[in-house]
């Protein structure tokens, strides 16, 4: 297994690392040397009493946990990058860092353009509000006026196939309906960058196809996509490039086909060794 910890640059194929400075305008996500540390407090204090008790015992010590270490990559405008890796490898943390939800402990993230984060399918819906109200709320979160959202309202509802449920509270929706709405809203707010975490895992085959089509459309329209999925076939279909994360480090990067194959291979090997160990 080849392990490359080097700095990775996702500029177009013929660009080599180092010449990237020349076309900085086109780089829309610039993650440089990002590390994220969480305090995994051994006992998480949620109360004064616990805090003081632990302080007395000298136990307010935190165990450091580095969710991401020295992550370094660039994404060019209109490119599509997938993050693959096993559970707990830091994919979602990386997405949240790029989205600006988590501030990196070290390093910096520079983003050129607006971001529509689709982190967990419900994408920040308020469950007591209806689909209609949630669409306006989500639009407002992206800085769009009500007028703008009104123009796109029908389009969103049509794409999500929720014509009959416009005024039903989201809490009464099925998980498929919520994710359809989430996808429809996030992809119609005209963001420069879409950040998608496991968004296509739900929904039936037909809807998934529709989503893939829309993503392809957006890519050709110049939208940049950062994509997380466990389905390597989907990654290959949607993304041009991929990064392979393990334990918070980049251990491989390149074209999505190549990286996905390596990743599936490693999973197979891991499975086999586990099997051998057991029997």
């Amino acid at each position: 297994m080849e392990i490359s910890n080097a700095k990775v640059s996702f500029l177009s194929e013929h660009d080599t690392y180092g010449t990237s400075e020349n076309n900085d305008d086109d780089v829309c996500i610039d993650v440089s040397d990002v590390s994220v540390m969480f305090n995994m407090s051994i006992n998480r204090e949620d109360g004064i009493k616990e805090y003081f008790i632990n302080m007395m015992k000298g136990k307010v010590a935190f165990k450091e946990f580095w969710a991401l270490r020295n992550i370094d990559f660039k994404v060019k405008r209109g490119d599509s990058l997938a993050l693959i890796g096993r559970n707990g490898s830091g994919k979602s943390t990386l997405l949240k860092t790029v989205a600006g939800i988590i501030k990196p402990t070290r390093g910096s993230v520079k983003v050129n353009g607006t971001i529509a984060p689709l982190i967990e399918m419900s994408g920040g819906f308020d469950r007591t509000l209806s689909a209609r109200e949630n669409i306006y709320l989500a639009g407002a979160m992206h800085g769009h006026t009500k007028k703008y959202m009104k123009q796109h309202f029908d389009e969103i509802i049509e794409f999500a196939e929720l014509e009959k449920f416009v005024d039903v509270p989201v809490k009464n929706f099925s998980s498929g309906m919520v994710s359809r709405l989430g996808f429809a809203v996030a992809t119609s707010v005209n963001a420069d960058i879409i950040i998608a975490d496991e968004v296509l895992a739900v929904g039936d085959a037909k809807f998934r196809e529709k989503c893939e089509k829309r993503i392809a459309q957006m890519l050709s329209g110049g939208t940049t996509i950062l994509f997380v999925s466990h389905s390597t076939s989907q990654v290959k279909k949607i993304c041009r490039r991929a990064i392979w994360l393990e334990k918070g480090k980049i251990i491989g990067s390149g074209s999505s086909a190549e990286i996905c194959d390596k990743y599936t291979e490693s999973l197979k090997i891991a499975k086999k060794t586990e099997y051998r160990r057991k029997y």
Binding site: Y51, I101, D126, T128, E133, K146
Partner: protein, 259 residues
Amino acid sequence: MVGKKIDEFMNYVPFLKEVIKRDFKKKYYKSFLGVAWSMLSPLLLMVVMSIVFSTIFKRSIPYYPVYWFSGNLLFGFITQGSQNVMNSMMANASLIKKMKIPKYFFCISSLTQQFIMEMFSLITYFLIEIVFGVPFTFNVFLFFIPMIYAYVFTLGLGMFLCSYATFLRDLDYLYTIIRRLWLYATPIFYPIDIIPAQFRFLWELNPVYIYLSIFRDLTLNGVMPSERSFIIATLYSVITLILGIVAFKEKEDRFFLYL
């Protein structure tokens, strides 16, 4: 730097509107009278308090129900508002964890929602002033000055509390008790005259008392408050807001770990 902040703020104004609207809807979800409660409940409480206390304080307070109402209005806004701001991160955890929105917006939205409700109570307040025949002076039109002081002070206090309450949830319970103590330490249902003169300075340390006496002077007693009280009120508000912002700025990056 400041220009950029203002741009960012303007960009999120539609969001602020939507969130305030949503909070209103949620607050009065399945309530028959809805917003009317913010006018009705202080009115009913006023009746209760007047029955209990008006005989005791009849001599020193001419319009007892109005006197009590004005105190309850301002005090209720400051304490309930600061408690709402304190809990605003927890209340909006699902959004904060998924979207990049400046976090102070949730402080502003929860306080503004409380402020709008106070405006409804204010209408009731002016109505009962008419009903009880409180003599009219043009000073009444300056009522917004103490309201602005109260808003700025409450935002600062709430943000300061929020910076710590997000990590220590006990503060919420503790604050409920402090609110009660604060209630008795503020002349809401009793006149300030019952406090011996040598202890009065202690009451001046209480910002709510300062705001309240300005508010009562303007709207009830029909006199112009002294310059000194305006200066003290401004100082209290500005200093609290600065403290709140500093504490909030320092802690906000770690909020998401505790939500």
